[in-house]
Symmetry: none
Amino acid sequence: MTITLQPIKPKKISDQVFEQIRELIFRGQLKAGEQLLPERELSEAMQVSRTTVRNAINKLVVLGLLEHKQGQGTFVRFPDTRLDNPLAAAMEVEDATIADLLEVRMGLECNAAALAAQRANEEDLRFMDASLEEMRVEVASGRLGTEADTAFHMALAYATKNPVHVYIMKNFYDFLFVGIKKNLSHLYEDPANIDQILSQHSEIIEAIRKKDAQDALQAMHRHIQFVQDFFRKRG
Amino acid sequence: MTITLQPIKPKKISDQVFEQIRELIFRGQLKAGEQLLPERELSEAMQVSRTTVRNAINKLVVLGLLEHKQGQGTFVRFPDTRLDNPLAAAMEVEDATIADLLEVRMGLECNAAALAAQRANEEDLRFMDASLEEMRVEVASGRLGTEADTAFHMALAYATKNPVHVYIMKNFYDFLFVGIKKNLSHLYEDPANIDQILSQHSEIIEAIRKKDAQDALQAMHRHIQFVQDFFRKRG
DNA sequence: TTGTGTAAATGGTATGACCATTAGCTATTT
DNA sequence: AAATAGCTAATGGTCATACCATTTACACAA
């Protein structure tokens, strides 16, 4: 008789809270600079003690995602200020360029788009729609829609239902953000480019909604290639 | 009259405790692997509440200097363990399966194969040839050729000349070695599978040698799909 | 208008209790 | 004697409650 038993992995409550809040940040539901719900309200909403919530928040503070301000509240830090994640650090050492990053994203995200087309549920689509819409609003207001842009790609990552992919993209997130914001600002300056990107995102969403994996993959390919071409022209 | 007043810096008690314990570690009074005093004793010795001590310790845990073990105590982590790859840690927490891993590799490595076909030089090809040959020898000697297998995929990663891709693959295969070696062993047990894999690797190399990106991509795709199918059949 | 005081909101600390897990010892069984 | 089960103590994790410290906002008085 050969039975295989899986080892049980005990999960601390505070870590579950930690995950939940971190998700909110990555998905863009908690934007940079925004204030987190007070600890007392969080503990009530999540039905755990304030102690547990504090442990989770403290972890996020140490990791640089949140910031405590006594007497005021807890706030989401701006990604620019947190270049301490391992991937970003590696970028500094190896002299990785945006082109390198886009190349890897081409492989990762085209594949992800195909997977998402097979597995995305209603909620995933709502997140993607929301980020697209938010990006429209942001851009229309004269701002760069970088946060919404990032949120879109993270929403797509979650839609793959693949924890490994989600994990990698999470680590990409900070670098993505900084890279996009700093360098893509030029890309966003031209209204024509903005329209292009918006429609590209839209095409990706529609392909996923139709559950057409091939189409989704190609739409993503066009999107990333568009950005690549832009940088090639700029040198 | 010009007087200069220094702004007061409010210092949290927990941070003072944090500093003190960190000093102990840095000065070597708390050596790696050693057990920290229990929280209750620490709080008594330092005349602060256990809550405060816990906050300080938690900070050190998040920073990777200490390690919690419920029911046992808190220990000083070994420095080499501090640099362990983040991906392996994620695998523990998220319940990632081999299938998840292969899915992501499908995207990453197919893309990498195409890039390698465009950029691989003589040295890269020699490394890939060498790993292929080594795997043949290992297998012929009755051993599993997992290390040579890994070496092949790493050689391909380097051939892309893309530092971001190399970085990700490094972490990837650290994990593969640590956790998944035993699962892959079944795949290697059947000689027919080995021959398949060897010829698949060979096809990939040849496509790269011919600088045929499309061909390389498809060869890699067949290779990974073969492994995926194997695991699907095994359930 | 200006300054002052007060109240509310919010993070920080303190206690004390209890739960969950682990290691080690003890008693029981075989 | 050896193996197993059961118990106990140590230790980290969670909870509830109270109070302290800081900041902001607002009302009020000079």
